[in-house]
């Protein structure tokens, strides 16, 4: 299908506040994004009117209970079957920051044994620093080709994308930590890991939250559901990089994420 036929639903509820840049990222690349409130998908609109579902960042439902928990519970109670069908058919579902938290709470990630697990299999817990961590972060691309959102980023390339979150520490249940981490690696589900300036898997402050295995982003075993804590939409242009006056990059590192998913949709549908 052509780029200008690709409709992207940028999903909102109360408290979502990063929708503008996600919308613009798709718009600038020639696709047809649209802001869609969750309640609209219950009545007047259908998820299958779109080829891509994006859950942007923010503080949905005030981050009450746990970040993303209320958004996820509401999605599950209203959209569950359609959402499973949507993901099963290979349509891309992306979550950035709060959106990643929603996908994990929903069970759409890491989704080891089915498209959507009944209960979460991972958590994005409070940062080790117990603070909101907000700064540029360096990420090493670790997907060997499974993730459809990052196909245009070379394997092991280090990119810069800003992080801004208080609950981003990726965790597995303690008793299953090693087993689950091995699944994640074996299934090529690890997409980005936090690194230091030498490309090493450094601790705080390079890993802003204390995530196991320095995980910043994962995808589903099929690669079409993707979540990341840092914000690719905030570095769409080179001039939004903090070192732009010295480096003068034309494209921001985040642009490739949106290009990759559009490229996938163009080929597949």
């Amino acid at each position: 299908m052509d780029t200008d036929d690709i409709r992207v639903a940028v999903l909102l509820i109360e408290g979502t506040n990063n929708e503008g840049e996600v919308y613009l990222a798709f718009k600038r690349l020639g696709a047809e994004p649209e802001f869609v409130h969750l309640k609209q998908l219950m009545h007047e609109k259908d998820i299958f009117d779109y080829q891509c579902l994006m859950i942007p960042g923010g503080f949905s439902a005030g981050d009450y209970i746990r970040a993303g928990a209320i958004f996820a519970a509401r999605m599950k109670s209203t959209l569950c079957k359609k959402l499973i069908e949507f993901a099963k058919n290979g349509y891309p579902v992306g979550g950035i920051c709060n959106g990643f938290q929603v996908l994990v709470e929903l069970g759409l990630l890491p989704a080891f044994d089915s498209v959507m697990s009944n209960y979460p299999q991972a958590a994005l817990a409070i940062n080790d620093s117990s603070r909101f961590e907000c700064r540029p972060t360096l990420l090493k691309h670790e997907s060997k080709g499974n993730c459809i959102f990052t196909k245009k980023i070379p394997y092991q390339e280090v990119v810069l994308m800003p992080s801004a979150h208080a609950e981003g520490k990726f965790l597995f249940p303690l008793e299953k930590k090693d087993e689950y981490l091995q699944y994640l690696i074996d299934n090529d589900q690890v997409v980005f890991r936090y690194v230091g300036p030498q490309g090493d898997y450094a601790g705080y402050p390079w890993n802003p939250n204390g995530s196991i295995h320095n995980i910043a982003s994962i995808c589903s075993p099929e690669g079409n559901v993707f979540g990341m804590m840092p914000h690719p939409e905030r570095v769409f242009y080179g001039f939004t990089h903090p070192d732009w006056t010295r480096v003068h990059k034309e494209n921001g590192d985040g642009k490739a994420v949106f290009e990759s998913v559009l490229d996938y949709i163009r080929r597949k549908f």
């Binding site: 209970i65 746990r66 928990a69 209320i70 519970a73 599950k76 109670s77 709470e105 209960y119 979460p120 299999q121 991972a122 958590a123 817990a125 409070i126 940062n127 080790d128 620093s129 117990s130 520490k169 965790l171 597995f172 249940p173 303690l174 204390g210």
Partner: protein
Amino acid sequence: MEADVTIILKKGVADPEGSNVKKALNLLGFDEVRKVQTMKTFRIDLATEDRGKAKKDIDEMCKKLLANPVIQTYRVEIR
């Protein structure tokens, strides 16, 4: 009927907020503070007097929304 539902981090899961509070209390001179754990309590008012049903409903609420079983457990106290 009212119920207090307390969400508690599982044993072994880091509690950065608790550790920070402990540090602050120690700095204020409360040297005897050895550990601080944070937990969150929801006081839920239910339009039923059936304790069995209330307990069952609350279990469901915890599974569907209030607790993430990966890192949290919960305790229910019907008042």
